[in-house]
């Protein structure tokens, strides 16, 4: 017994894992959060195949640093913590030769045949006389609660694997958010473990609320974030636009959730696209509904130890979208806004959006783009003046940092590549850009120049009156040329001002400033009388539009730059 006491004193003075000074407090510091009442829980969970970190979670240990201690050290400290108690008992009943082994052996026989667990590894029973062997557990059994997430997947090898994937994907980023998708059966096992612990604590007259337990995902992030951060050289930030995501799966236990479908059928909607009905959300919902007795009927408590670890199915990287805005001019009367393709056949070469986006996609190395603008013009209409505001969303860009100089350079590249369009004020903006586009389309005035032909011969004086008409109200039915794809409606629109320019007996130019959403061509030719009044009715003639140009889009966004 004297030997026992001495040995225990020696262990006390072994320097702790925190690089401690060898004082009592440091050595026991990783388990210093644990108290007497935790002992039966720790013992129970350790015996049933739960890993040290999950044990700490169920003992509601909230200190992040403890979880970061190496696995081996945590295991050792836990066992020492337990031994502590046993020694005290030794001292009291010193005539018992091997009390700790005996106690554990008893619990072991309750579970299965002898000392071989179903994962094939020999359970090393920590005995007081045999500490060293206990520490050299060759096979680490997979935790029956976290299935290895807080074990293998906290190790440096996995961190390196993730970082390798990130680095090879060649993204530009200044921070990261690490998101993890866990297999649904983890929630089921967590529930079983909680019920087990709750029951044990009940014997001591104590309660354990589900919310007091440290969440698995949270503990995982405590451990892995600092490691990822160090390896990648940037901080972890919940708001980061750069996302590294890992999907974990554990096929071995996938069917464990199935009993929930019989117990709570309404939680599980029919599967779409051959995906599993047992989604994480559905499983969690079912667990909330199911009664404790029903749960225990269908699921082993404690959960059984699995043979294998989880697998990391996918490690993916994704960058949040960047937005580029500017204004474009269109000089071609043969260029559509978006690609014109019918039945797989391209009707007109290229488009405004392709000519602008092509170079941006290449520079930002994005997966795809979404183009929007403050309204648009027909194929045969030019856009002059300051141009029309546009915004492009670049999806999953690899490069995100561009200086003002680089943006100017990009602008030049686009302008040099085609004489059909020109861009100006090209700049990086935020997501609010899209809202601005809509605003510009629906609320802001536009000015146009139309070349008009009249059937009746006219003189200068005949069209002069147009200049005096202010705030002319139009009623425009949906033009026939778009009626196949738009609802039938009548739009009231206002022509604010007009200015005529006589050319000859059958031609004149009309400059107009109109409300957003006015159909100019229909105002000129009348669209079978469905736009009233129209130039024809005003002149008491038949009028036709030969050419139309957009002179200005009266939006002061995006901010003008020194181009």
């Amino acid at each position: 017994m004297w030997l026992l006491l001495r040995r225990s004193r020696e262990t006390r003075y072994v320097p702790g894992v925190g690089g401690g000074s060898g004082f009592v407090e440091t050595e026991l510091s990783s388990m210093s959060s644990l108290t007497e009442k935790d002992r039966p829980i720790v013992q129970l969970l350790l015996n049933t195949g739960t890993c040290p970190r999950c044990i700490l979670r169920f003992c509601c240990v909230g200190s992040q640093t403890v979880y970061r201690h190496p696995y081996k050290d945590l295991m050792k400290d836990l066992k020492d913590f337990l031994k502590n108690n046993q020694e005290k008992e030794d001292m009291v009943c010193f005539d018992v030769v091997d009390p700790p082994c005996k106690r554990i052996r008893l619990e072991d026989t309750e579970e299965g045949p002898d000392d071989v667990k179903h994962n094939g590894t020999l359970q090393q029973i920590p005995s007081v006389n045999d500490e060293n062997t206990a520490m050299e557990n060759s096979a680490v059994e997979v935790c029956n609660v976290c299935l290895g997430i807080l074990q293998e997947f906290c190790e440096v090898d996995f961190v390196k694997k993730v970082c390798q994937k990130v680095n090879s994907a060649d993204y530009q980023f200044t921070s990261f958010v690490f998101s993890v998708s866990l297999p649904p059966q983890l929630s089921v096992r967590e529930r079983a473990a909680w019920l087990l612990v709750k029951q044990e604590m009940g014997k001591l007259g104590l309660s354990l609320a589900k919310d007091d337990i440290v969440q698995l995902k949270e503990a995982y992030k405590w451990i892995i974030h600092p490691q990822l951060s160090e390896e990648l050289g940037v901080p972890a930030d919940g708001k980061s636009l750069f996302e590294v995501s890992v999907v974990f799966a554990h096929p071995e236990t996938d069917e464990e959730c199935h009993f929930l479908a019989t117990a709570c059928p309404d939680c599980f909607k029919p599967a779409k696209n051959k995906q599993s009905v047992f989604t994480r959300m559905a499983v969690i919902k079912a667990l909330e509904k199911i009664k404790e007795e029903d749960f225990l009927k269908h699921f082993p408590c404690p959960p059984c130890s699995p043979k294998n670890l989880c697998v990391a199915l996918e490690i993916q990287c994704n960058n949040g979208a960047v937005f580029v805005a500017g204004r474009y001019n269109k000089y071609s009367r043969n260029l559509p806004q978006t690609p014109w393709i019918i039945d797989g056949e391209r009707k007109l070469e290229s488009s405004v959006e392709e000519l602008i986006s092509e170079h941006l996609m290449a520079a930002f190395k994005a997966d795809s783009f979404n183009f929007s603008s403050s309204g648009r013009e027909d194929v045969d209409v030019r856009t002059l003046g300051n141009g029309r505001p546009f915004a492009i969303e670049l999806v999953n860009p690899r490069r995100i940092h561009f200086t003002a100089e680089e943006m100017k350079g990009l602008q030049q590249t686009i302008n040099n590549s085609s004489d059909k369009i020109k861009v100006r004020d090209l700049q990086l903006v935020t997501r609010e850009a899209i809202g601005r586009m809509k605003e510009g389309e629906e609320e802001k005035t536009k000015t146009y120049s139309a070349l008009i032909w009249t059937d009746k011969a006219i003189q200068k004086e005949d069209i002069a009156f147009l200049d005096d008409i202010k705030e002319l109200k139009l009623d425009q039915k949906t033009p026939l040329r778009v009626l196949h794809r738009r609802p039938l409606a009548v739009r009231c629109r206002i022509i604010h001002t007009m200015k005529s320019e006589y050319i000859d007996e059958h031609h004149f130019r009309l400059h107009l400033k109109t409300q957003a959403g006015t159909y100019i061509k229909e105002f000129v030719h009348g669209d079978f009388g469905r736009t009233k009044p129209n130039v024809g009715s005003l002149l008491n003639s038949t009028a036709d539009i030969l050419e139309l140009d957009v002179e200005s889009v009266d939006v002061d966004w995006p901010p003008a730059l020194d181009n």
């Binding site: 059937d455 026939l480 040329r481 196949h484 000129v524 009348g526 079978f528 009388g529």
Partner: protein, 170 residues
Amino acid sequence: MAAVRGGAERYFTRWYKPDVKGRPCEDFCVLQHSNRICVITLAEAHPLLQTGKTITSINYQISANCSRLQNKVSGKSKRGAQFLTELAPLCRISSSDGEEYTIYSCIRGRLIEVNENILSNPAILQEKPSTEGYIAVVLPKFEESKSITQGLLTQKEYEEVLLKRLNSSS
């Protein structure tokens, strides 16, 4: 015969249906847009467009239960539209000489709108039958948009019909 073509009609193809229901010279012209929308109009040879005819009334109530004026469409697909077959009547027009003419759809499709302007101003029906004096707008089914013209004549074929009439009468 070629009336002045304004910008409104630039993208339309003209199709004709002569002597509808066997009634001589009651010809109609269907203007078909490249987007498949059709405008039903009177052809130049129609009696109502001949000199001396005065229109006394235009009535879109074609039966006790059906008025084309009550046609209401909603949404892009024009739900709620009255469905027309080739010989569905659109309206009935009376002239001062006691004659009554029925205007027929000539094509299958959904009735989008009838021209209410001619109710308030019947003169435009005669002055500008191919534009402001149109009768109705019809949207054929997508699948039928090519086949609807099978029962109609092209401009050239119609001109031959007109020529035949001229020769037979002389």
